[in-house]
Structures are given as structure tokens and as C-alpha cells.
Symmetry: C2
Amino acid sequence: MRLVVARCTVNYVGRLESTLPEATRLIMVKEDGCVAIHADGGAYKPLNWMNAPNDVRESADRWEISNPKGERLIIVLHEILSDTQHTLGDDPGLSKDGVEAHLQELLAADPEVIEGGLVLISREYPTAIGPVDLLCRAADGSTVAIEVKRRGEIDGVEQLARYLEYLRADSSLGVLRGVFVAQSIKPQARTLAETRGLAWKEVDYDELRGKRVDELRLF
Amino acid sequence: MRLVVARCTVNYVGRLESTLPEATRLIMVKEDGCVAIHADGGAYKPLNWMNAPNDVRESADRWEISNPKGERLIIVLHEILSDTQHTLGDDPGLSKDGVEAHLQELLAADPEVIEGGLVLISREYPTAIGPVDLLCRAADGSTVAIEVKRRGEIDGVEQLARYLEYLRADSSLGVLRGVFVAQSIKPQARTLAETRGLAWKEVDYDELRGKRVDELRLF
DNA sequence: GACTCTATCTCGGTA
DNA sequence: TACCGAGGTAGAGTC
């Protein structure tokens, strides 16, 4: 990894056009050839960047970075304050817990949390427009399609509504209902779900995980 | 801005939980107190980060960063390879061209590009569920609601369909039609638009801008 | 390669 | 503050 601190102006032409006036910034060049320009605020997003693969042409005061998609980043260096190189090696990578997949897994193991009497038929049940997260049989004999999201927003409701449109074409599933499940569901999404004739249910991830752990402790 | 290159292990507990095993990485601490940890690949996304405002507690081999939301990042330093400080100053900021707002502006100035005979009634016409990008009067006397997107995807079509549902409740608007406008519209979005009874139109941003510039040159 | 969906999404606007 | 929408979304997975 190469770290250059320099007074520079930057120009990007690609998916849009942007200009950075002269100022002091950090230019980060990684082993894979990607380039990011950071200001001294905002942890996440670089001001400008170019993802690998890149062709970097470098002269004393001007870098031209271009990629196969035809995007171009031009950095004009007015003064270099620091230019260092570091060997980092491969990163073993990040391991995560708490994402949608895990929530879906917990609910698949215990669909009663969503509605009493639910029994899992299938996970990732295929339709022409994508897989339905969970398909269950309800106590009343109806089939229940469940869309699981970490955060319940309007798109998730639309997604579930589209799945149901397609599922209803398959008469073998009998009476169909839809339930939208998330850790928290925004008011707009609740309203839309109700207008679309869908039920919704908020579930607590920590509680669900705790419950699961407790159950495992019994054995 | 402080740049530390170090062998470290990192632990994040907050919106999810994550662990980074021991490896050499760049730790970037910005003037506003935000922290980002970068591996030597992928320009954009840090492995871990904490946005400002942060409380940073630092000892020789362990940093604890916490924020008011209760998120915590713990960095254990096994070996510091480099630790430098740089004064960057405020950044004058990025100026952009080519975003949706500008596209909407160009279309508002020249709605005939969408359909011959269209005359603008209103931009950002308010409804209970949000503003309609453009509302126009057509040559045939009907009212046309237009949703403008840079990229035409399925959500945009749903959005326009929802707006029309609400607009139809207002009988003063007369006969209503919807047109979905974008620089490029995906096949799925076209199909959905047609099923929902909506028209769609692809427009060329550069051409539109060029045309506008040409018109201005006439004066 | 194209298309899909997720994200500690980030970031900016607004009520 | 919360909600909502755009993003050069990026990045991962699937077909």
C-alpha cells in the first residue's frame, strides 16, 4: 500500500463528472491497483476513487488512472508532503454475525415466533422472479409466504407482494397469505403492507438468538 | 489525519458483531475523530469503521472507540510499523454534474423530449406519499405524471404506479397517464411498466445537455 | 458477463 | 431526531 499526502486537484470523468479544487489530501494506492482520495473527515467514503483493475500512468506531477469501462481519474500534484510504501500482505477477512441470513435461519428453525402453529415447508422457495425466503403451512391449512428483512422498508413489501402474485398462479399451494417480517418495520411499510393485504411482524434478533441459545442449553 | 500501519486484531460490536483476525492493516484516524481500518485491496470500503462523533480511549497496545449510539470498536495492536500525523485542513468539497436532479431540470425545461406536445404544469408536485417529479399537460388534454430516474429499475416503476394511485383520487386532474423516464431502462422495468399501464422513455443525458447548450447559443 | 439483492450501506435532504 | 431517497452506490452471490 502506498500512501501519498499531497496538495492536489482531481478530476473524474466516467459515470458522472466531478472536480476537486486544490487542497491537501491523502491518496491511497492499494496492492490491487485501486486508488482512493480521502479528505480529513468522514470515515467511510473517499472523495474520489477508482476500483481495480486500473491502468495507472504516473509522471512527477500528474497521475492518470483509467479503467476498462472508460472511466478516468486525473490527479494533478502541486506539492507532495509525504510518500510512503507499506507491505501489508493478504487480509484473512472479516467474519460477521447478525445479518439477514442469520435472521432467516433463526426464523426457519422456529417459525412459531412469526405466528403460532406455523410449520416450515421450504426455505428460499423458487419462483420465476426469485426465491421466497420462507414458505410455511399455517394451523388453518393456508400457505404462508414470508419475506424476511433486517430493516422493514417499502421495497421489501413490494417484493413480497410480487412473490405472492406469482405464487397464486400455482393452485397447488391452496389459500395463500403473506407475512412481512423484520427487526423493525417503518410506518410507511406497515401501511403499504396492510393496503396490499399482507400481515407484518416485528421480531427481536437478540431475543431470538437468546432463545435459540437457551434451547440448545437444554440438551 | 493520523495514519497507523500495524499488525492488529479488531472487534466491532454495534449494528452487528464482527471480528478481524491478526494481520497488518492501515488504521486511519481523521480530524473529526472517525476511524477506518483498511486492508490492501478494494478502494472503497474499509474492513471496519466508526463514524464521528467518537470517544477514543488509547493505551499503548489497545484502542477503544465508542460512539453515542453504543457501538464499540476495539483495536488490539500487536506491532506498530508506522505512525504518522499529517495536517490536511478543510476540504473545499466535490462538485458534481450528471445526477438525477440535473436530468429532471433539463426535462422540465424541455418536456417535448419525452412526448411531443407536453407542457410542464409543475415540478415536485406534492402527493400524500411524496412528490411527483414532473406533472405535465399533454396535447390530448390528459395529465401526465412523470418519474425521472438516472437508471430505470423496477422500484422506480412501482413508485410511479403508487403516485398515480394517489393522483387518481384527485378528480380535478382529469385523465391521468404515467411515463417512466430514465437514461436507460432495464427489460424487467419496461415489462413491469407495461403491465401497470405505464409508458416509458429512454433519454440521452449528453444529447439533452448538448441540445440545451445549443439552444442557449442561439441567444 | 449480466442480473440480483444486501449493506454496520453512506450521505444529504426535510419535516 | 427520524424518515426518505439517491448513490460514480460497492460487493457478494447466482445464473
